[in-house]
């Protein structure tokens, strides 16, 4: 007997998650609202549209990380509470398809969030124009988002099995994502210098790429066991 092709399963899971999000709007609007509200608070708290360099990059990436935690908290709730895990496990499928689909959806949410968050950050807080170096910024965003999506999905699957999901997610995810914040913030800082955008250091891109690869492989190897009872 042959199982259902993994790409068919991944596509079905992604389609289902996006359809649910369109109906419930439980993750993406909360992430966007949280990010914009944080930027507004910093705008008034710092009493100026004055951030640049390291500080700007740090504020931006920490906000992105906390926004991601909101989505990670909700990622597997329907699977747990509406029998999605059982329905999935009863089918002749490769279990890692669930990991791939969930990580892809989280990645998509982060990209969609940043379509809103980057302009909002530029308007509310960023001193220099983000225009120059936009392409490099996009590259950094995609690499960092991939890392957050992989680790977030792993932690989300682990945390949903516990009663204290909303405590476990930040407790596990945030320390694991520190390398992403460091590399992404250090990589982004030269792009947001008051004197004008400088080149991104290649090592930060390399670190992000390695992080994505290592955690991607790790998650792929252990995800099956997380679904066991």
């Amino acid at each position: 007997m042959t199982g259902t092709p993994t790409r068919t399963v991944v596509a079905a899971l992604i389609r289902k998650d996006l359809r649910r999000e369109l109906r419930t709007q439980e993750s993406l609007p909360a992430m966007a609202l949280f990010s914009v509200t944080t930027f507004v608070l910093f705008h008034f708290g710092l009493d100026a549209r004055s951030l640049e360099g390291d500080l700007a990059a740090g504020v931006f990436w920490v906000t992105m990380l906390f926004a991601a935690v909101l989505a990670v908290n909700r990622q597997f709730v329907a699977e747990r509470e509406e029998g999605g895990f059982d329905g999935f496990l009863l089918a002749p499928v490769d279990r890692t398809a669930l990991f791939v689909a969930k990580a892809a959806v989280l990645f998509g949410f982060l990209v969609a969030l940043q379509v809103v968050a980057v302009p909002a950050f530029a308007i509310l807080l960023l001193e220099p124009s983000p225009g120059p170096g936009l392409l490099e910024l996009a590259g950094l965003l995609l690499l960092a988002d991939a890392g957050i999506a992989v680790v977030g999905t792993l932690v989300g699957a682990l945390a949903v099995q516990t009663r204290a999901r909303e405590v476990i997610v930040p407790l596990l995810a945030l320390p694991l994502m520190i390398p992403v914040v460091i590399a992404a913030a250090r990589g982004t800082a030269p792009l947001w210098l008051e004197a004008g955008a400088a080149a991104v250091e290649g090592r930060w891109l390399l670190i992000l790429g390695l992080y994505d690869l290592v955690f991607g492989l790790l998650a792929y190897a252990v995800f099956d066991y997380l679904l066991d009872e």
Partner: protein
Amino acid sequence: MPPTEPEPAPAIELHDLGRAYGERVALSGVTLELPAGRTLAVFGANGAGKTTLLRILATLLRPHNGEARVLGRSLPGEGWAVRGRVGLLGHDPLLYRDLSARENLRFHARLHGVGRGDGRRGGAERIEALLDAVGMARRADEPVHTLSRGMTQRVAVCRAVLHEPELLLLDEPLANLDPGAAAAVEPLIGPGAGLTRVVISHDVAHGLAEADLVLGLRGGRQALLAPRAETGEAAVRELYA
């Protein structure tokens, strides 16, 4: 003497099956053989281990003791070969509340590869036929959370048989169904479907009427195992005493 018909190969073989949740033993010492195409009726009071047994057979729980073979495959090692050949209808309908009945069934059809090779049409035709059969075609585009429990159960029946399983695992399958709905799902999950079935029921008379083999559980232990012909209602009712 006329030749006797050979007994079909067993669809379920359990030997000293057991399962615990931490310190609490939920199931212990269950041993039985169910030939293919027959119905096993499982009786027992709340907490007797009936649902645990069903979830082990569905490959959703690992047995901690003994041996289990389902559809000729050993569990849990060959669970991958059993998945997709089993239809589970439990307490939980396994339907996403914010999706419609049709969307839920399409999703499960894709997971099970229903209509694979026929393009989308094969799966869609099967879904429509099932929705028609249970009288849910008209309400199939409404979110599941807006449906009554009986309607949700009818959709759950469609979900359980969508992929034409060889073995049906049914936990109170007629719960919440009115007589009309119960009659509508009967050809899909009843004895007439011709499938191997494990049915948990608290309706002793109805459960016995459908059974070929009767299993009674008490406190997780096998308290009764007998062919239907040798079991009376009184013996089953004792399990609840």
